[in-house]
Structures are given as structure tokens and as C-alpha cells.
Amino acid sequence: MSGTETPASGPGEPAEAVDPERERPQEEPSAEGRGLPVPGRRFALYTALVGLLVFYLLPLHSGIMTAFADQASGLPYAPPAPSDATLSNWQNGFDIVRSGMTNSFLFVIPATVLSAFLGSVAAFGLTKLSWRGQLGVLVLFVAGVFIPYQSVLVPLRQFWSTMALEGSLKLLASNLAFLPIVSGVLFSLGNHADLIELSVTHTAYGIPICTVLFRGYYFTIDDEILEAAQVDGASMFTVYRRIIFPLSKPMFAVTMIYQFTNIWNDLLFALILVEDSAQHVATQKLNETLGSFATDFSLVMAAAFAVAAPTIILYVLFGEQFAEGITGESA
């Protein structure tokens, strides 16, 4: 990945450019360099690669085939017979999970943006300024990446039920009835209280990984730019806003793609926090679909692909950034 990631990194990053000689021989396919002298073995190599390709695509392929079949009766991995082929599963499957997908977008987007932003400022405070006790704070951030969610579930449920977000928002809304617009907004927020809880929760648990990702990136930004700005008397806020933030755009892409995928894909927090069935999110809806239509695999498959579509589209468009995000996890 190191060969191709370079363009994604911003300007002023000399660290990326340290080993150009090392990368160059890679650019033209050279069997020699990596110890494969016999050209006849190339055939075996490509056979293995294609075989693995089939293995990785097979579950997806047979899933799609099934979703196109009226009755999942033929071979599960073969295209359905023309008489059996239908598009209705896709329509029905999407209809079932549509409200869940809307809810997911409503909570995933704010959580993605917020966790990326907070991770970015935290990383800035922990990278571009050196101060005592930094290491302790940093360790708590990094360790936060690896926390098993089970160890916070019971307190989370307690915490949010104590907060009584829905009731408070609606009470506030009725007290502010003389301000119709404010009151209306608050009431509507009250109706989405579970999603707000979910969004805040995911933001908090996303901050550690975002901080780690941004921190790695900020080390590559040349300090001389910051020094120059400070010579001009710029405050740290101005430095962040004018220099760091614009330079962070490629990293924001990486972090936000990573976070969107993670948060969209999560089921566990939603199971714990979202009780109101009108607010059930996409993964929850999909799980329920499996529960109630277990025998109609074609329908369940179509619904599954509808739920997977946003992350698949992101992955196809920004695969490089996604890869960069997941390797940052091992920091």
C-alpha cells in the first residue's frame, strides 16, 4: 500500500519521500527482484490469485444470484433460470430496510463528522505542542481503540436511561411552546432521542482511533510552516484553522470513510440503545428481517445488499483511503 498511498498525503510531508529508490523497482513488474526466476511459475501464480479471487467473491456472488431468484430453488451459486428471475426482491427488500437506512444516515453522519473533527483537534494538541504528561493522556487515547464494547454496555444503558433524553427534550419543547419553531425542532429531536444517544456514543468511542490516525499524519507535517505562522503572531487556533485543517483534508477523507463504515456496520450499540422500533437502524432492521423472513432467503439477501450498499459504494470509490484507515488501527 505504501507505493500508492503517497498521493493521498498532503504537502509538506518529507517523511513519505524517504525511500524513493526502494519503491522504484516495484513499479515495473519484476519477478527477478522477489525471487521468482522461472517464468513458467507465473501461470501457477495467477491461477492461485484468481482462485482466491473466486473464494473472496463467492459469498457475495451467490448472495446476488439468490436475490435475483424468485424462488431460491436452483443451484445457489448459479444465475437463476430466466423464468425464475425477478427484480421484486430488491424492491421489497429495500422497502423493508428503508426506514432503518434513513435512521442510520441520520445518526451515522453526525457521529462520523464529529469523531473525525474531535480526533483531529485532539491529535493536534498531542502532536504539535509538547508538554508534560502527554504520554499518559496519549496512552489512554490509544488504549481506547482496543476496548471491547461489552465492558461498557451495562453502564451505557444506565447512563442514557438516567439522562432521559427523550422526556427532557419533549418537556423543554412543551415549555417553549411560545416559540413554535424552536419547540417543533426540540420535539422532533425528542422523537429521535435514541438516535442522538447512539450518535453521541459512537462519537465518543470513535475519538481514540481518529486521534491515532490524525496523530500519525500530523507528524509528517513540517513544523517550519507552523513556526512561520507563529512568527506572524498567529494563535494556536488560527494555526489549526488556517494551516492544519486545510492540510488535513486527505486524512479527513481517510478517517471519515473509516468511521462511516464502522459506525454504519455496528449492531451491538444499536441493540442496547435503540428501543423505539420507529428508530431502529439499518443493521437492526436487517437482523429483524432475517428473523421474520428466514425462509425467504432471496428477500433477506436483497435487503442485506441494500444495507451494505453505502459502505460498498464508499469502498469502491475510496478503497485506498479505507486501506489506509484500517492499517492505522495497528498503530
Partner: protein, 356 residues
């Protein structure tokens, strides 16, 4: 990546002195005498400058830190306190009497299960099964995924055409939700008309068809196989970065010595991938603990049966299924300690090597 961060960090320590001394940067000019320039010396000095940096950094890291402190560390602590109570049912916890009863109960169950197991035969004690299966899952899943990922990385690294396409497809399953992949694999593993059994029959291996998700013998391994499918692409990416960092002359030197390709990888290349292996293994174990979603969906709830039960599932079932909140919290704390047992040594060695 870690090494890059480390060197940048060392750099930063020395550069910072230069930076702060720039004229006009500070309202009160800093002491022009520079000290050692190492990060340790920088943070160790007690000049007002350091204090000022601390204050100036505060608005940036403190708000996110407080959120993390509250939601992560506050919640973990609260969870521990709840596990010391006897809280169950619909009421609120009472914190008046705290003891380790729940932990004693858990390990007694594990012990009883082990005894039953030693006396021959299976045990139905969920704690024992979940405890053992968690280790089985973590170890087998990690080892197999690392192996497959290394294989993929070595193949991809041989200067192939369409490298990007292959890489993208091998990594694709990682972009999917556990809920989606569980549904896909339920279809793959189905006894009647599932993809795997149909394929086995088609190539004349009909004798090997199994009830993959029903037979206690195969359940856990079926889960591990599917998880490997989902996460080996991640290992590939990590190993690929590691392989690309090895200079070409190491390969050439090994070939001049007459080493076969296999021996070259085993003797020369693999030892240099140790850092990649460690960090990938740590992340994989964490993914393994998050496999809750997958097992929950593929077995249709928190009761996968004794042979596929793992502690994250047991925790959910006890707390949210049976409202044994304190007991669930105790299981959760044990899980947290297990995760800590994986992360703490890792972070410590990173710190020792100056990679943190």
C-alpha cells in the same frame, strides 16, 4: 507506520526548541539556552515555556479527552462497581454492599465445567464453554488469518499485473457489516441447498457435506472460517506494507546463497515481518472479541449453543437477556481484563522501543 511516527516524534522534540525560540513567537521570550533536545529532556524541564505549551494545548485535547474519559474509562469503572453489587431484575442497583461474589460464581462455574469435562464427556455449563471457546476463537482465528494474509501478501508482492484489483477484492469483505456477512454465510453454510454443500456435491465430494451451522463439531470453526474470509484481507494489507519495507538486496542475497524460495521466505523474510505480525495479531484479537455481531446474527440471537458460545455473547445474554446485570458486568470486566492482557504488553513494548 509506527517507526515513522517514532522518528518524527524524536524529531519533534528537538525541533520544538528551535520553533519556540523564533523571535516574536512568545510574549515572554523563552530561555535561549537549549537543553538536550530529546523529548524526555523537553518535557522534563520546568521552564514557563513548557507550562505555556501545556496551557495552549489544553483547549484542543481536553474536550475530546473528557468525552473519552467519561464514556470509555468512566463506563469501565462504573461497570466494575456494578459487577460488585448483586443487581438483577428491573430495579436500580444498590451500591450499599459490594463484594466479589459474581466473580467467584463465574470461576466456580468454569471450574465445575472443567471438572465435568475431565471426567469425560461434554459439559453444559455455559461459563466453561464460553471461556474455552473464546480462547479457541481468538487463537485459531488470529493464527489462520495471519497465515492466509501473509500468503496473499506474498502472492501480491511478486510484481503481478492488476495488483490493485486483486488487493481491492481481497479486502472487500472488511467493508461489510457483520450482519451482512453473517447472512451471506448462513446462505453458504445452509445444510439443504447451501453453496458449500452444493459445490461439494457438484465436484463429487458429496460425502463431505455437513450441517455446518448445526453440528456442534463444526459450529465454531464455521464461524472462524467466515471471519477469516472477512479479515484476512486486513492482514494482507499489513504484511504487504511490511514486505515493501524490506530492501530488495535481502532477497537477492538469499538467492545468491542458493536458498530456495520457500526457505528464503522462512529464514530471511519472515523474521523481518515480526512487527507487522505483532500489531496485526493484536488488532485481530480485538476483532475476534467484536465477533459478537456475527455470531448473534448467524445463530439468530444470543443462544448459539454450547459449542459456539463465547464470552461477549454470554455477557449479553446474562445482562440483557436475563437481566442479571451484576453478573453480566462481571463477565464484561473479565473480558476487559483479557483485552488489557493483550493490549498492555503490546503498548508497553511499543513504548520501550520508542514507538508510542
Amino acid at each position: 507506520m509506527l517507526r515513522r511516527i517514532a522518528s518524527a516524534f524524536a524529531d519533534l522534540g528537538s525541533r520544538f526548541h528551535g520553533g519556540e525560540e523564533a523571535p516574536g513567537t512568545e510574549e515572554e521570550p523563552s530561555d535561549p539556552v537549549t537543553d538536550g533536545g530529546t523529548p524526555a529532556a523537553a518535557s522534563g524541564s520546568k521552564r514557563p515555556l513548557r507550562h505555556r505549551d501545556w496551557v495552549r494545548a489544553l483547549p484542543f485535547w481536553l474536550p475530546p479527552f473528557l468525552l473519552v474519559l467519561l464514556f470509555v474509562y468512566g463506563a469501565i469503572s462504573w461497570n466494575f462497581v456494578i459487577s460488585l453489587t448483586g443487581w438483577e431484575g428491573l430495579g436500580e442497583p444498590s451500591y450499599s454492599q459490594l463484594d466479589f461474589d459474581m466473580y467467584v460464581q463465574f470461576f466456580e462455574q468454569v471450574y465445575d465445567g472443567a471438572v465435568e469435562r475431565l471426567n469425560g464427556g461434554d459439559t453444559q455449563i455455559a461459563e466453561y464453554n464460553a471461556f474455552v471457546n473464546t480462547f479457541k476463537l481468538l487463537i485459531v482465528f488470529t493464527v489462520v488469518s495471519l497465515g492466509v494474509g501473509l500468503g496473499l501478501a506474498v502472492l501480491i508482492d511478486r510484481g503481478i499485473r492488476l495488483e490493485n484489483t486483486f488487493r481491492t477484492i481481497y479486502l472487500l469483505p472488511m467493508a461489510l457489516s457483520f450482519v451482512v456477512t453473517a447472512i451471506l454465510w448462513r446462505w453458504m453454510y445452509r445444510f439443504d441447498g447451501g453453496v458449500i454443500n452444493e459445490l461439494l456435491t457438484a465436484v463429487g465430494l458429496g460425502a463431505f457435506t455437513q450441517n455446518w451451522l448445526g453440528d456442534p463439531q463444526f459450529k465454531l470453526y464455521a464461524v472462524i472460517f467466515a471471519l477469516t474470509w472477512q479479515f484476512s484481507g486486513y492482514c494482507m494489507i499489513v504484511y504487504l506494507a511490511g514486505l515493501r519495507a524490506i530492501p530488495d538486496d535481502h532477497y537477492e542475497a538469499a538467492r545468491v546463497d542458493g536458498a530456495s524460495t520457500l526457505r528464503m521466505y522462512w529464514r530471511v523474510i519472515l523474521p523481518q515481518l515480526r512487527a507487522s505480525t505483532t500489531s496485526a495479531a493484536v488488532v485481530l484479537m480485538v476483532f475476534g472479541l467484536k465477533a459478537f455481531d456475527f455470531i448473534f446474527v448467524i445463530f439468530g440471537g444470543a443462544t448459539p449453543g454450547p459449542s459456539a458460545d463465547i464470552m461477549p455473547i454470554l455477557m449479553y445474554r446474562e445482562a440483557f437477556g436475563r437481566t442479571n446485570w451484576a453478573y453480566g458486568s462481571a463477565v464484561a470486566t473479565i473480558l476487559f481484563l483479557m483485552a488489557l492482557g493483550i493490549i498492555a504488553p503490546y503498548l508497553y513494548t511499543q513504548y520501550k522501543r520508542g514507538d508510542l
